[in-house]
């Protein structure tokens, strides 16, 4: 591993987690702690990080910036970890936006070679950080409430795709299917499900067995559901009956 790569890795880890320990880094990338320390010192000299005893902190963390923490971030990270293995090289993947998807994007292995389609600005931004991922942005008009592209342009772009996988963050699911409450978003999600061969839905357990006003699709259109809970949880029985794989 090249020195520059290693430092890039460290920077990214700090960006993602806001803090890191020298010892952790040393284990993760199999170099001595001395090397890590030297890297951290160099990065600190360049004013890119803040070196502290035992590790380093992100600059934004300490300076005035107050980063809004994500609701149930731990659950979402767990979900994200379960999705990653489903993604293989050379796949075409449609995704929505949402914090769980962002978390997933960060966990994608750097040697993954795939094409991601999304209408979400934050998601597109995250995908674009990856060296080997191709990003296609869907649509043009951006809905402020949901920060994703909506409208006819987005729908027609999606319809023109044959994707391997659709990974969708959802707001509510129960035995009747997936529901949501933003009409424009619904249209986009429906199109995505149509355009993909398989559909994976991500949801924190709290949203399971709840519903909202507008229908996206029934359970039979879903192939896999991922939550932070253990798949054997009885909560999932009705969904398993509909042939949905729980992870």
């Amino acid at each position: 591993m090249l020195k520059t790569e290693r430092q890039a890795y460290i920077l990214r880890q700090i960006d993602l987690h806001n803090r890191i320990l020298s010892s952790d880094l040393s284990n993760e990338i199999n170099v001595s702690e001395d090397t890590i320390r030297r890297d951290l010192n160099e990065l600190a000299d360049m004013d890119k990080i803040i070196k502290v005893h035992g590790g380093a902190l992100s600059k934004s963390f300490h300076s005035s910036f107050l980063k809004s923490d994500v609701y149930k971030a731990d659950s979402k990270r767990l979900i994200a970890q379960k999705v990653v293995p489903l993604i293989r090289n050379n796949m075409f993947i449609l995704t929505t936006g949402g914090t769980t998807i962002i978390e997933m994007a960060r966990l994608l292995p750097s040697d993954l070679n795939a094409t991601f389609f999304t209408g979400s600005i934050p998601a597109a931004h995250e995908y674009a950080q990856h060296p080997n991922i191709e990003v296609i942005f869907l649509g043009d008009k951006i809905s402020k409430s949901s920060q994703i592209a909506v409208g006819g342009e987005a729908i027609s772009k999606i319809s023109g795709i044959k994707a391997d996988l659709c990974i969708m963050g959802i707001n509510a699911i129960d035995e009747t299917g997936i529901t949501d409450n933003d009409w424009e978003v619904i249209q986009v999600k429906k199109a995505m499900i149509q355009a993909a061969e398989k559909t994976v839905v991500l949801s924190i357990a709290e949203k399971v067995n709840t519903h909202q006003k507008l229908m996206i699709c029934g359970l039979d259109e879903i192939d896999t559901m991922i939550t932070e809970l253990d798949p054997s949880n009885p909560l999932f029985e009705p969904y398993k009956k509909h042939g949905i794989t729980i992870l």
Copy 2:
């Protein structure tokens, strides 16, 4: 194997893998490491790759992973402040990306009612934060090196617009006009200038009177230029002669 062939091969490998070791290349194509090193140095001199101890990295790898804090942030904020008054209610505005534009987006008054078109993910993201601004994202394929949408889709979308204003961050300007060094970006910028009634260019003073390899447009297509310096600075005389307003 000819030198040009070899360098083409190296470039391709770097494109594919984002990084390369001198020793690997030496083995793969059976030339001495010295030759590889010489090649890498030449390619680095041409700004095609980034040479590091032990090998080389692709430029996109570098720009997206080794992100540093913004160069000359203060100057850019000053520039941004000068742009804002040019933007009026109900305007249609085309913008590029770049840190200066982002800074500008943050300074837009919250009661501003306008439509912004951009192919830059970070810029779109910033505009979308504003309550009364409509954001239209241009294009679909996102270039990793520049984090903006490029290609035919973007160009054709832009061509279909009649905007009031084009606000463009630039990399180099001198008496012959605006120049840049990324072919795909050039195409987008050209289209933007064509599509807008008036063009405002933003540049830190450091870039004034410099030039790069590829031409975007001549001075006569520019209406206003904004830098962090006082407009009366003699540096701007030649540009004023071409009828450009300096702010």
